[in-house]
């Protein structure tokens, strides 16, 4: 525990320093901070860029429970997401059935397999995110590349964003999450959270900054695609052009950045 906390403080300190010098992109992790000289911040030459990051989940490639567990574990391990066995739990990525995921696209005559299958859920990184709109401190904000990011150190825990999110993508730390993490924490490079703040999927903004794909994408073995929605040559645009895709609750106008191939 002590070790985990010390690491956390170290990373939080570096992040706060980097933030102070105007480098919002480093707030999540330790790796990009390595590039920061004293009083300056330079973007890593390996950083991945996009005008609008988007994700395509090929639901046809998720067949067994193990397929889901693999990607969820990759995400939750990387981000030190605790496993809390109550209704006050934390989830960045999880699964549910068709009627719960695509609530306004429900049709009882769909193929049985489709209705019984599980679907992967995460923050949609909306183009028009209600959570960003309602946040009273700008602790949740939209980056230029379309990612809806969070500053855990600014969040006051009012949970307006949780009421605002129509996708139930956000979790609140009702208790100290560190009590539910191993010691040392699964990934000492990523900060653990304190009680009383909201958290959610970050599209692995801190990994993109050092040239890595999101953890779930890397673990999925091609079942999850990630790329620039504004680039016609990107993997996501190609996949969307060739396959039928749906998004969650499109009628709300939030423009989710997560697409499902069905």
């Amino acid at each position: 525990m002590n070790n985990g906390r010390r690491n956390f403080l170290k990373i939080a300190g570096i992040s706060a320093f980097a933030l102070g010098s105007g480098a919002a992109a480093t707030l999540m992790g330790g790796a990009p901070a390595e590039a920061a000289g004293i009083g300056s911040y330079e973007e890593s030459s390996r950083a991945l860029h996009a005008k609008r990051w988007a994700m395509v989940i090929d639901t046809r490639k998720f067949r067994t429970k193990a397929d889901f567990d693999k990607v969820i574990r990759a995400c939750h391990t990387y981000h030190n997401v605790p496993d809390i066995p109550t209704e006050q739990d934390i989830k960045w990525m999880w699964t549910d059935t068709y009627d719960h995921v695509f609530t306004d696209d429900m049709n009882e005559q769909l193929p049985k397999k489709m209705l019984q299958d599980k679907y992967l859920l995460l923050c949609n990184h909306c183009t028009n995110p209600p959570c960003v709109r309602v946040c009273p401190t700008q602790a949740t904000f939209k980056l230029e590349n379309g990612i809806v990011a969070m500053d855990f150190h600014r969040c006051i825990g009012c949970r307006f964003c949780m009421a605002g999110c129509p996708y139930g993508a956000r979790s609140f730390n009702y208790m100290d999450p560190r009590k539910y993490l191993s010691d040392p924490v699964p990934n000492p490079k990523y900060p653990t959270r304190m009680p009383g703040v909201v958290e959610k999927c970050s599209f692995c903004v801190e990994r993109l900054a050092v040239g890595l794909q999101p953890a779930c994408v890397e673990a999925s073995g091609g079942a999850i695609l990630f790329g620039d929605l504004n680039d016609p040559q990107s993997v996501v645009r190609k996949a969307l052009a060739e396959n039928y895709s749906i998004r969650r609750k499109p009628s709300l106008g939030t423009q989710p950045g997560v697409y499902y191939l069905v």
């Binding site: 006050q88 739990d89 609530t103 009273p136 006051i156 825990g157 009421a163 208790m175 009383g196």
Partner: protein, 387 residues
Amino acid sequence: MVEKLLKGPKCYYMWLLFLVAVIAVCGLVYIQQLMQGLTVTGMSRNVSWGLYISQFTYFVGVAASAVMLVLPAYFHHYKQFKRMIIFGEFMAIGAVVMCALFIVVDLGQPQRMANVMLHPSPNSVMFYDMIVLIGYLCLNAVIGWVTLEAERLDVDPPKWIKYLIYLSIIWAFSIHTVTAFLYAGLPGRHYWLTAIMAARFLSSAFCSGPAILLLLVLGLKRLTGFDPGKEAVKTLTVIITYAMCINVFFYLLEVFTAFYSGIPGHQHPLVYLFAGHGGSVPWVTWCMWAAVILAIGSLCVLIPPKLRENMNLLPWALGALVIASWIDKGLGLLIGGFTPTPFETFTNYMPTLMEVMVALGVYAIGLLVISLLWKIALDVKKEAGNF
């Protein structure tokens, strides 16, 4: 005028002592919540607001309701209300204090509260809510104090106060409208996504707030002999009756839209609140039906003039009205908004004992503020011969 707080009968001190004791005990519970986190409450990932925010919402209404005395008195020169106005204004101050505290106890990181001002976010309704509530608190404090001081010195209040009073009338409408916007602008929360949310909030505030005020003033009459005036009570009761009728009417409009349109999302929260889900009936269903019966009961007494003017029946009717509106806005509104969840699933919410105790502590602080302010007002009125 502050010196008026120091001298009073024994029962006054006992009352203050009782409130302080309640605040102390509940304060200890709050410290426990600070140490353990909001896990001590009944809230969950799916129902992420609960008793605290619903009480905040209810008391913004109570605060706004002072306008039901101020508006007739200053826009329509209805003199009969002038004796009672100060109590309405001081009750509004107590209510706003409670609102602020309910927000604070609901925060996960209350020590970062100042972030709302350090990083002002004009896109967030919460930002405006903070501004209008602080503004309303200041307006009522200045107006209440200055007019009371004038009464004490037996002079007319200064002319400039009139403009602040006009401003406070419009401001009162704004605080509850903005509070309604906290809810009414969220996509995907069917129970809240309704254009008449602000209108519903105002109508429910303008019946429940004056009803609470009238109950307290009637209690005060028994306790101290201060008479608000027969005519004033009669008129305020009529205002309460109209507001309650409009409140019930607005609720029925919601029911019509949900069920005649046949859109499932609009029906689900109402069905959950009044009939439960999948054969299981949550505790809130009993409360909702109790609210229906109490609302009908109160209107049955309030609408016929003969019954309405019966001073033995009136407190009961007002009590029923307050409970009914409290269940609608202080319980049903929040629970119906979060259930069903965005996944069309059902997570039941029930406040825990600790949560209820923290809320009671906030009530006690509000009552303490109101008691102290009312004590000053009463003594000034006694001194000035306006008792």
